[in-house]
Subunit: 320 residues, 2 copies
Amino acid sequence: MEKLESYFKQLVEHKEPANLYNPIYYTLSQGGKRIRPRLVFLSTELFGGDIEKAVYPAAAFEMLHNFTLIHDDIMDRAPLRRGRPTVYKEWNTSTAILAGDALATMAIKEILETPADSRTVIELSRLLAETSVEICEGQQKDLDFETADSVTIEDFLKMIRYKTAVMLAGCLKAGAILSHTSETNQLAVYNYGIHIGLAFQLKDDLLDVYADHAEFGKAIGGDIQDNKKTYLFLRALQDGTPEQQKELLYYFSGESFDAQKKFNAVTAIYEQLQIKSKTELLIEEYVQKSLSELDKITIDDSQKKEIFKQLAIELSSRKK
Amino acid sequence: MEKLESYFKQLVEHKEPANLYNPIYYTLSQGGKRIRPRLVFLSTELFGGDIEKAVYPAAAFEMLHNFTLIHDDIMDRAPLRRGRPTVYKEWNTSTAILAGDALATMAIKEILETPADSRTVIELSRLLAETSVEICEGQQKDLDFETADSVTIEDFLKMIRYKTAVMLAGCLKAGAILSHTSETNQLAVYNYGIHIGLAFQLKDDLLDVYADHAEFGKAIGGDIQDNKKTYLFLRALQDGTPEQQKELLYYFSGESFDAQKKFNAVTAIYEQLQIKSKTELLIEEYVQKSLSELDKITIDDSQKKEIFKQLAIELSSRKK
């Protein structure tokens, strides 16, 4: 992982124009959890591939991720990211658009440099490009939901699949491709990633309402405040009585309310409809599905799968 | 070329979400001169490559070009393109950002599908990605110029090289790579492209001031009106007396002026300094350089170079 950090540094050092490469480095150097490169490395280890070579797809997927953050922050008008001003706030919208554009293409350049045979390089590059298009599709769906009259739970799950899960799955598949494992294994680890991705996003939405404030470290109830159509909201809307539906739609209508009053009213309906446990149940379902995908993977030392089991369980039981 | 049109259609047909793929098709189907795919085809013919295969890089470069148009129009706040509302005007900024993002990646996906050996596919993909990063660099430089106190002619020529010329050169090189011609030929046709690209852009700036209105088909003097730092302006600033410099800077200061009065005053200085003929001379220099690059190309039937000579001469003598 340290290799990755120095990697990002040399990628932009002394590059011109500064107004393009400074925001790129600003974003890449903020770190975050580096979940995506970790998944590339974990998967490469699982299938016995070469970790040195994995630095290229690992860097590429992290760059792709950061490109989506820069552009999403423009669309969401988000002022802060990881405690610092977002790129479009620190610079301006044009620079943020361009920095994202350059970063997306630099990710492709990066993966094309993977020191592997040509067929593998092409497969990895296709995976990255495919993933990138799907993420754009997911983000557009998400934007569509903001103004849509009604969103089905099926639509919602498809949206988070594209917006969040395909990237995690793609990282895992990249490690599998690099390690020349079987197509069955590639598919299984990809599907494992899809399911932990879905569980991860649902857990995020759950914590936004039900986290312990002290442990969570950020404000509770932001999604309710912003009228975000999360699984919790859509499930309540689906399961609610006509009165409950009406009340929910009233609070999510865009009118202004006292934040605490709105939070209390919405969570009261959630409580009546047992939305918390219903969401936990769905998360558990996805975790189980991810574990059964793990079972399909054939490797010599099946002990190596343990860390992936742990990961699935941790994601679903985390408190922040 | 017709193949290309049906190609773009099937690329987006029945794809979801519509709010992502409609703006993409809206842009791709507007046509324009299709200069970039034409250059890929011309170069492939020059070096005896397979035209059928060239459809892939041709489509990819046209998609890359259209991605840059969609994003540039946001940055330039341009309301119209090819006589129709720009994507961010017809939809909104978020959709325009995403449509551009998706199109850029679809271009990479496209070129990765070129039916050629793996090494060629990788080389083509690297070329496309490299070109895309350079175009971002050029666009950022252009944005930097808007607020820069002083811009040297050297900076300006570097900017248009990246913003405009590398794409044309890249198209020509793509045909050369696909045809497996020598590296010397690849480099020569690339450099030919750089020089005609520079000539093309300078001619554009010249026509914006000196075109015959009836033939040109659009308003004259837009660059002067918008205080654009073109070659004409920068050269006048370089060659002018302190008084002329002061007057130019006064008219380009961002204050509002009567458009006709401003145009007359600025072009009067251009006339005193012979800016028109100085610009024509530089264009002619680039045309000559492009022709001498052509001389470096070794092919069996050197008659095939004729069309490239014609092209260089036409670009510099065009009236619109």
